[in-house]
């Protein structure tokens, strides 16, 4: 069968591949003081990859390749947009950090871009094989990047833990997928969906679905598969942590939802209760553990576990109630997009404050508002947004979550909604603790101001973009709802 390759549809991926090669080549040519050009090339290449997206979006045509295994539709475009924008932001965060500590620069950008390529592939994948390849391409480079601070034992630990857990989960995921293939003889989502009708009582099928959920649970860092998260997040270089908690988490989420929503909707009786439990556990365990954290990155690690729970709520609720999955799916995707923006902002501000105060301990942030009011305001914006306080973007994410749960109806979902409502209040407490340290506490008397590093222009740009979007979406959420609309395309076409 001849493969017609639609080069425009693949253009974003191709641009990233070319950028990877350019970065690699530059790294060979450039002398040490000039290595920062690799960063510039990576940033420029990522920005360039967004250009074909715009053409494809304006064109609006659904482009399907390789027997429908690789599809570029509105939904894929929205996700690719998200992945590229957040990759761009992560690169802006990385630049100064990576340069200042004398890391290997060329390799860093090469690996990050490889991971980005994986996320882009994943967004278009409509069968298990491409999905798996995309997902592993996303995660693989991160095993290395987590250990990028080679001299630091914590970073070594981060890398090793992440690697062992990651490989284990990959194995389980693959096992589940192969069982699914063995039972149905299908790898495309469309085929799986047709072949699994009425199979929900088949024991092997139950096992396969549970294995798949377990595998994805590690990727999205949801409880009870979250034990690697805090140590890895804390030990990894902060920009890598940002990438882990946003891009890689989002990729895992999208992959899992695609499989469930497009591939296994007929088996929702198996996976819906499992997702319900994972959502509830993630919210509760994530929030309760976050309450006790003193390190800001660990706090964000646990908060991102809890947020994963919030994100799962709409989809799990819709599935448990047996109502229209479309609504829950789009609410989850909207949550994912808003979370990505504000969480990247939070990490950007963590790096900026790190430059300013040289510490990631929450206590050391005391009185930041008096030392640097602008940074203090940014901390308030991102952390209150994560807590879901209007008029910042986070409120709309939580609102959409509650809305879709209520629409789904049913008692199990109402219980989930109540758990989410209580957890939203608990979460507020620890986010507010950071703001409290920054604005309500007085600066330590023995602070030495000389240790400050000026934050780079790139970092400031990242802060401006994320803060701007956080406020804009909060005041006029219609900016974000098109994401939900785009995900409805799947229901129509898939």
């Amino acid at each position: 069968m001849p493969f017609d390759i639609d080069y425009l549809a693949l253009a974003p991926e191709l641009v990233i591949v070319v950028t990877m090669l350019v970065v690699f080549a530059l790294d060979l040519i450039l002398t040490r003081p000039n290595k920062y050009w690799t960063a510039t090339a990576a940033v420029a290449g990522t920005a360039l990859a967004a250009v074909p997206l715009i053409f494809l979006a304006v064109d609006g045509e659904v482009r399907s390749m390789f027997d429908g295994s690789y599809v570029v539709d509105q939904f894929a475009l929205v996700l690719k947009g998200l992945f590229i924008v957040s990759a761009y932001l992560v690169l802006l965060l990385s630049h100064q950090y990576i340069e200042s500590e004398r890391f290997y620069q060329g390799e860093y950008y090469f690996l990050i871009l490889a991971s980005v390529l994986g996320t882009l592939l994943m967004a278009s994948s409509r069968d298990l094989i491409i999905l798996f390849v995309g997902l592993e391409l996303t995660t693989g480079p991160l095993f290395l990047l987590a250990g990028w601070r080679k001299g630091d034992l914590k970073s070594n630990e981060a890398s090793l833990k992440f690697f062992i857990m990651g490989v284990l989960s990959t194995g389980i995921l693959l096992w589940g997928m192969s069982m699914l293939y063995g039972l149905t003889g299908e790898v495309t989502f469309g085929g799986l969906s047709a072949a699994t009708v009425g199979q929900e009582a088949e024991p092997a099928m139950i096992l396969a679905v549970l294995f798949i959920i377990l595998g994805f649970g590690f990727k999205i860092a949801a409880a009870p598969f979250h034990f690697w998260v805090p140590d890895t997040y804390e030990g990894a270089p902060t920009p890598v942590t940002a990438y882990l908690s946003v891009n890689s988490k989002a990729a895992g989420f999208v992959a899992m939802l695609l499989v469930m929503y497009l591939g296994l909707p007929e088996l929702s009786e198996i996976w819906a209760p499992a997702l319900w439990v994972i959502a509830a556990l993630s919210m509760i365990l994530g929030n309760l553990s976050a309450l006790r954290q003193t390190n800001i990155v660990r706090l964000l690690a646990y908060s991102s576990i809890a947020q994963a729970g919030f994100m799962l709520v709409p989809f799990a609720a819709a599935a448990v109630a047996g109502s229209n999955l479309e609504q829950g799916f789009s609410a989850t995707i909207i949550y994912l997009v808003i979370f990505s923006i504000m969480n990247l902002g939070a990490f950007a501000v963590v790096i900026a404050v790190g430059n300013k105060l040289g510490s990631g301990e929450i206590n050391a942030w005391a009185g930041l508002g008096k030392i640097d009011a602008r940074l203090g305001v940014l901390v308030a914006i991102f952390f209150f947004s994560l807590a879901g306080i209007p008029p910042l973007a986070g409120w709309f994410a939580k609102f959409e979550m509650f809305r879709s749960v209520i629409i789904a109806g049913g008692s199990a979902t109402i219980i989930l909604a109540v758990i989410a409502a209580i957890n939203a209040v608990v979460a507020f407490y620890y986010y507010a603790r950071v703001v409290k340290a920054v604005w309500l506490d007085d600066p330590a008397a023995d602070r030495i101001p000389d240790e400050e590093t000026e934050s780079s222009g790139a970092l400031r740009l990242a802060l401006v973009i994320t803060a701007g979007l956080t406020i804009a979406i909060g005041i006029y959420p219609s900016i974000a709802t098109f994401v939900g609309e785009a995900s409805r395309v799947l229901a129509a076409g898939g």
Partner: protein, 537 residues
Amino acid sequence: MEWFESWGLTLIVFVPVIGALLIGLVPKEREGVVKALGLGSAVVAFLLSIVMIGQFDFGGSSYNSYQFEVDKTWIGAINANYHLGIDGISLPLLVLSTFLMVLSVIYSWNHWDEPRNPKAFLMLMLLLATGMNGTFVALDLVLFFIFFEIVLLPMYFMIGVWGDRTLRKIPGFAREVETRLYASIKFFLFTLFGSAFMLLGFLALYFKSGEFGERTFDMVQLTELGGAGAFTGTFAFLVFGAMFLGFAVKVPMWPFHTWLPDAHTAAPTVGSVLLAAIMLKLGSYAFIRISLPILPEEARSWAPFIAILSVIGIIYGSLACLAQTDMKRLIAFSSVGHMGFVMLGISTLTEIGINASIIGMVAHGLITGLLFFVAGSIHHRYHTREMSRLGGNMKLMPIMGGILSFTAMASLGLPGLAGFWGEFMSLVGSYNPLAGLPLGLFRTAMVIGAIGTVLTAGYMLYMLQEVNLGDPSTEWEGHEFRDVDRFEMMAWVPIVILIVVIGIYPKIVFESTTDTVVSLVETVFGADITASLPGGG
């Protein structure tokens, strides 16, 4: 003035926040410009609301029909709209809000609590103004929710940064904590807890409205549906309960009131004033605007319960006041009692009761606002709020003492001053509640409420006696105390005048509210209005 019809409310709501943004652009050192901008935007919002009174069609005001309406698509995907409008119930509260904001800025002019920073403080005040004005005019549940929540952020920072730094031992904490830190987070968590459930209630209404057409958050449409009996049974019961949690925490009703004494006592003077005078009204206003008309059946069945909680609040608040040694905390607890009268009025579901609650809200806003102003100024002079140390204030600062006496009299409900109408009429209302409500219970509530008014007189006089009368304590010998300064005068005299005017001629409030309230009670609860209101109407 066509543009005013469609832009008036938007301007009143957003002029303050635009002022705040402009202040943000001015460097901190240029305090004069910062203050001028703050005062300017507060005054503009106030003047616009005065113009609105002039343009308001009092004759044509009736229930569920709004004036100065704006209705634009906001979040198309969920059918939430930018829908603002005003009627006879919200007009007095909106004007109260813009009015007190101007006075608060004037008072702040030379009264800054530590750590000063007028720029940040004014920005927060103006953001607060936008939230409060917006809540009173929002006609879409999502929009309402946003404004209802926006007020939390500035108030959190006001309490937390400028609040009381006294160390306190709080049960459950190993070490002593600064009052401001404890109070600010407690205030936020309580309100957030309530509003999370309130939001679930709103969403449930939205969901249910889908059975009768397109799903909607629009209060006007939901009111129509509610009036037609769309929301009934267990569903309505749960929704009312969820919204009740949100509103009752904000009011606050007993037993959700525990955040209030802490927050009010810890807040800086202007923060306490705005908190007591306007923010508490957001909750009781929401009962009248949302709970009653949209869920009339549930309002009937919850009314006795609300009445009981209100009466407990009245008695509990008054008794708690009698036990206070801190002047500001006493005033804070008095709010629990006064809001009890407001909620008792609402729970009667009669036009007298609801009118009482609205005039009660306005009066409480003015009177307690002024009390907090005076308490703040007294604290400013003596650096203590302990009443046992304050005595003899009348001899040291006669004008300040006089204003305090006047306000305390107004607060205890002296006939002829504004506080009288709210208390008196809500008791009259509960003598004769809406037909079908348990008469015995409401009459008992009336009697207990009447005892409450006596207790109110008791603690207010107790405060006056402790603070104003007697001889000054020897520790103040040799101190020069400056009596009321001109900024305080400028901020307080307008309130004093209004308290007298409303006291003598309550019709200026009823003129606005009565028609709307009567048509609300007639249409929603099918009551036959025969009784006439005191002061005409």
